[in-house]
């Protein structure tokens, strides 16, 4: 019995499985050693392995669709900046270019070439969100990308084993949290090392001298599977639009999704132009979230790699907010980017045979709370200085067969931070954090609930909110007859209404009041089961007025 070829097929399956495990180990190493709370508590990171042609073979499943293929694209740019023939064993490269990395300066992308017996065999890449990269801080008030912080072009972080001390010194000198910034960058390099070590072990175990045959198999098999799923769909063009608050003016997000020849092409022509403030989206980030919107409905169980991502194309005109050009400010690109799956769902809803959820809160309601700027520069002040990024969430849209999830991140998959932890690291005191009654859109299936959150300062001092919040003017819209989710709200305990964007003050003695948006409903509310209606009332999910 000649076992060679069929045996090799099974070995190929095993090695594919192993690669996915290798990037998972890579990601776990990063989570364990990261300093940024948003990385280690919330999971804002990405890790992947590439072949030497820059094809992504496996990516760890973390909480950030924003890195789904932006990191994959980024590695191609690295290969242009550092051609493989010039790569040396012990090199590590870095950039935070928003257009060639993952969308804003806070995200560092670190790339490590991997060698087996002196020969380049693979590339590991990872990215995570640094707590501070200078400039005016993490928020949308920058007028251009230069104001948003330190920019690192494609550079060598480590040159044949020697760390670039100049680079580290510059990063330290430009961050409000130099130790954390240095620590985070080094932990990125360390996690690639773990991935590389495991890959080399695998290649020795299976006596491989090159990854290319395995890479070809992974890419081809995945591409074919996604193409087969797309081929089941009715060809045609489907358009949808959605209006969101924006910064200085409302933004229309317009997409035309075309299904043809086993490929899905998304064209954002018709979308509003760029904003004067930092909510603009580099194309790579728009690509990531639109691709996620497609993949979560079409062939979601096929892992992300160069093959499975290939049949999905995204374009946007250069004068649109979704293809913002340098030097546009892009720091808070997530506010608009995270809305894109809802727009994609609006297109896919029209495709026969696909059932899509209703719109949801979608963008994270990150509360960036800081001690008041005036106190921060007064050396005699006894007021505590703090800066807190408290991830908060609204409701998810109702699904075609079930209610929307309450107080849950979607499409982002990051986690919240416990109240008791925020109160440990700052003088803030939460007065309330509870589900928000009546905020879920009505429908056969109800939208998920938002939250009511109230925060005061225990010290007799003002504090600032650096707002980057949307769906205050434009709530989530229902589907198939379902009702709207409740709009978001941000204001003060004393009654003053605050703006959804920009730095604002919460005066001493007053407190912050936040209502995160609810998800919209799905289907005619008249068709909701009596049991569900009764339970909602009994639970105070719905309060009759």
């Amino acid at each position: 019995m000649d076992l060679h070829s069929p045996l090799a097929d099974i070995h190929t399956q095993i090695m594919w499985n192993r690669l996915i495990s290798v990037v998972e180990e890579q990601a776990q190493t990063l989570i364990r050693t990261a300093f940024s709370p948003i990385v280690r508590e919330s999971g804002d990171l990405s890790a992947g392995v590439f072949d030497i042609r820059g094809r992504m073979l496996a990516q760890a499943v973390t909480g950030t669709p924003g890195h789904v293929n932006s990191m994959a694209e980024s590695v191609k740019f690295f290969l242009e900046a550092f051609p493989p023939r010039e790569m040396q064993e012990g090199d590590v490269y870095i950039t935070n270019d928003p257009w060639m990395g993952t969308g804003h300066l806070n995200d560092m992308v670190v790339v490590t070439p991997t060698f087996l017996d002196g020969k380049l065999v693979a590339i590991f890449a990872c990215t995570s969100h640094l707590i501070d990269i200078g400039g005016i801080g993490f928020g949308p008030d920058g007028r251009d990308v230069v104001e948003e912080g330190l920019y690192l072009p494609f550079l060598k972080l480590i040159d044949r084993g020697a760390i670039n001390d100049t680079l580290i010194a510059i990063v330290r000198g430009n961050s409000r949290y130099p130790t954390e910034a240095e620590g985070d960058i080094l932990s990125l390099a360390a996690c690639n090392d773990v991935g590389a070590e495991r890959l080399i072990e695998m290649m020795r175990e299976f006596s491989l001298s090159s990854l290319e045959p395995l890479a070809d198999h992974i890419v081809e098999q995945s591409r074919k599977s996604v193409q087969a799923e797309i081929a089941k769909l009715a060809e045609g063009s489907y358009s949808a639009s959605m209006r969101v608050d924006g910064y200085e003016k409302p933004i229309d997000l317009v997409a035309t999704l075309t299904i043809a020849k086993e490929t899905i092409t998304i064209d954002f022509s018709g979308t509003s132009g760029p904003s004067a403030k930092g909510i603009n989206v580099p194309l790579n980030y728009a690509l990531a979230y639109s691709t996620y919107g497609v993949r979560v409905l079409i062939a979601p169980d096929i892992p992300n790699n160069a093959g499975s991502l290939e049949p999905i194309k995204v374009k946007a005109p250069t004068d649109s907010i979704l293809n913002a050009q340098r030097p546009a400010p892009v720091s808070s690109r997530h506010i608009i980017g995270q809305m894109l799956p809802d727009v994609i769902f609006g297109c896919l809803e029209q495709v026969p045979g696909i059932a899509v959820p209703a719109e949801g809160a979608s963008s994270l309601w990150n509360l960036i709370l800081e001690s008041d700027a005036a106190d921060a520069v007064d050396p005699t002040s006894t007021i505590s200085r703090f800066s807190v990024l408290a991830v908060q969430t609204g409701g998810v849209g109702a699904r075609p067969t079930s209610d929307g999830l309450s107080a849950t991140a979607f499409p982002s998959g990051v986690s919240g931070v416990p109240v008791e932890i925020i109160e440990t690291i700052s003088p803030l005191l939460f007065r309330k954090k509870e589900l928000r009654s009546n905020s879920g859109g009505q429908g056969t299936f109800r939208g998920g609930l938002g939250q009511v959150i109230e925060i005061s300062n225990r010290e007799p001092a003002a504090f600032d909110i650096y707002a980057a919040l949307d769906r205050i003017e434009h709530p989530a819209r229902g589907r198939s007859g379902g009702g709207e989710g409740a709009a978001g709200y941000v204001g003060l305990g004393s009654g003053k209404v605050l703006r959804g964007k920009g730095r604002q003050k919460v005066p001493a003695g007053d407190w912050l009041v936040v209502h995160t948006p609810g998800g919209a409903g799905f289907g005619d509310p008249a068709d909701r089961s009596q049991a569900a209606v009764t339970a909602d009332i009994a639970n105070g999910i719905v309060v009759l007025r």
Binding site: P6, R32, G63, E420
Partner: protein
Amino acid sequence: MTRIVPCRLAADIGGTFTDVALEYGTSRFTAKVLTTPRAPEQGVIRGIVETLARASLTASEVDLFIHGTTLATNALIERKGARTALITTEGFRDVIEIGRESRFDQYDINLMKPEPLVGRELRLTIRERIAVDGSVVIPIDLDCLPGHVATMRAAGVTSVAVGFLHSYVSPDHEEQVAERLAQLMPEAYISLSSKVCPEVREYERLMTTCANAYVQPLMASYLRRLRQELDAMGLVAPTLLMTSGGGLTTLNNACELPIRLVESGPAGGAILAAHVGRQCGVDNLLSFDMGGTTAKICVIDKSEPLKSRAFEVARSKRFMKGSGMPIRIPVIEMVEIGAGGGSIAKIDNLARIQVGPESATSEPGPACYGLGGERPTVTDADLVLGKIDPNNFAGGTIKLDRSLSLAAIMNHISGALGTTAELGAFGICEMVEENMANASRVHAIERGKDVRSRTMVAFGGAAPLHAARLAEKLGIDRLIVPRGAGVGSAVGFLRAPVAYEVVRSTFTRISQIEPETINRQFEEMIAEASGVILEAVPDATIDIQRSAFLRYSGQGHEIEINLDDRPIVEDDREQLAARFTDAYIALFKRKIERADIEALSWAVTATARGTASADTVAYVPPADRGPARPIGTTELFDARLGRFINSPIYWRDKVGPGQTIPGPAVIAEDETSTVVTSSFAASIDAYGYIVLTTQQEPN
């Protein structure tokens, strides 16, 4: 540090079987009976009666009885606990529903989160607020309690969880509620978060408290009934309960904090593995327990299983992280994956073999049982690959039909792959072993450990069939299959010490540590832990282990650092920092310059010296000291060589020490078979354990 207890008995209630082990002098007697879910004490008593009969002993001759059970775990998984209410801080009614606000599966649009243990209508709030420093921001208003009691009574509540924000700093408000509730609702069980889990992070603390309340009536009533049954049969020996943390506790403590009993069975397995390692003089182990539906892997350093303070119970989806309920109690840390003998294999839409977590369970079971199972399982693949003797499975009680296995694999796997049934079977085994290897590596890296260079200890019905290949994949060159592996957890219970752990959160920068505060807290914790110990062993000499959970300021994961057993003084700041830095470098290869170090929590483990009972069981080698003779041969597929090899089968009890069996070979016994792959050679050691070590370039 062990003592001689002449006659000791242990019982472990698992999902399917209740295992009983009795050690008397140099002999061990065991029994495996079916679990009786409606009245679990009946199964336990039956198993004890059977075991005593085998040992020709009476109940009154037992000197110590140790018990572990999955009842609490099952109640949480099957949602069969008490009608429970939660009393919490006004403004924070939904903490247990809001959770961490994330989705455990990024690509499942229809994802359902586990229903909270306490529905919203029974989450009742009280006006009160304590700040992070323990100061009272809003004094407690107990006037609403009578109304809440009326609501709870109307809803048939029998157990009440009480959890306020920052109660781990100041339990005062919770205690006031408990006092009033005891008067107003004397029939109810009460669980305080400041007692069950006095640690920072409100979601995890409240979930743990609700889970404790949820299982408490059931567990307390079960434990009382068991005590009565034991008394009735004349088994009056002291009874201790196995906890998930690997120590033994008293019946009273178990009734008060039953949540600490979850996962006690797997903890017993890890303790057995640690004991085996100690006997064999190896410190660093990987324990590998594989049964019918799951595999559990645990890292053991210096003969101590790794501990953790958190785990998830009742994971709903493919054992995915985040899909269960977070529980914060001291646990022996292990990774559990849906890979067992009954795990079902299928082809996914990428034409890849997927194994588990779905299991064929005992009905219909694997295809080869001939009970109507049509889908191929890991056991079917094992049979096809020659690892299992179809005539001697489970001591010959179940006859296996290889043709049914071949058909199932052909129909569901090999047909789609265009290959033979044999290669399909190889694919199934290789995939399940790969999954276990990957899970082990990821688990180890999460703890900053390396799996290579460890010795594997394999037990549980399916582990010896897969251990050698798993070891090959992990780069492990030595593995041990102990005796009595089929009832490993129960035997492990007998090796556990009387021990109790208390953890509390007090946040402080190391540079600003206030010795008085920390020392006062340690004194309280030591008193609490010692109280439990002294109840179990009134004349105990107590060893105290103090530790601190430290991290760099700004990080999210703490490292446990052992402290000397004495009060802290100001000069200790530098020493603490140095110990942390050393531990950090050991884990992550480098330190962070110029970063502050902070403490989040502090722990005390009290152990009664010499209370782990000694292993006096003797191994009696076979009388025939000649070279081992095979009892037959099998066409055994060797994964590394990629082909079938005609290999000898040996009967375990007929192979004596001093003989070497080169792989490939199979060593069979009643409960399982040990597969010796071509990389390994097997021998029997002085304890009768099978020891596999890598052999030089075989074949």
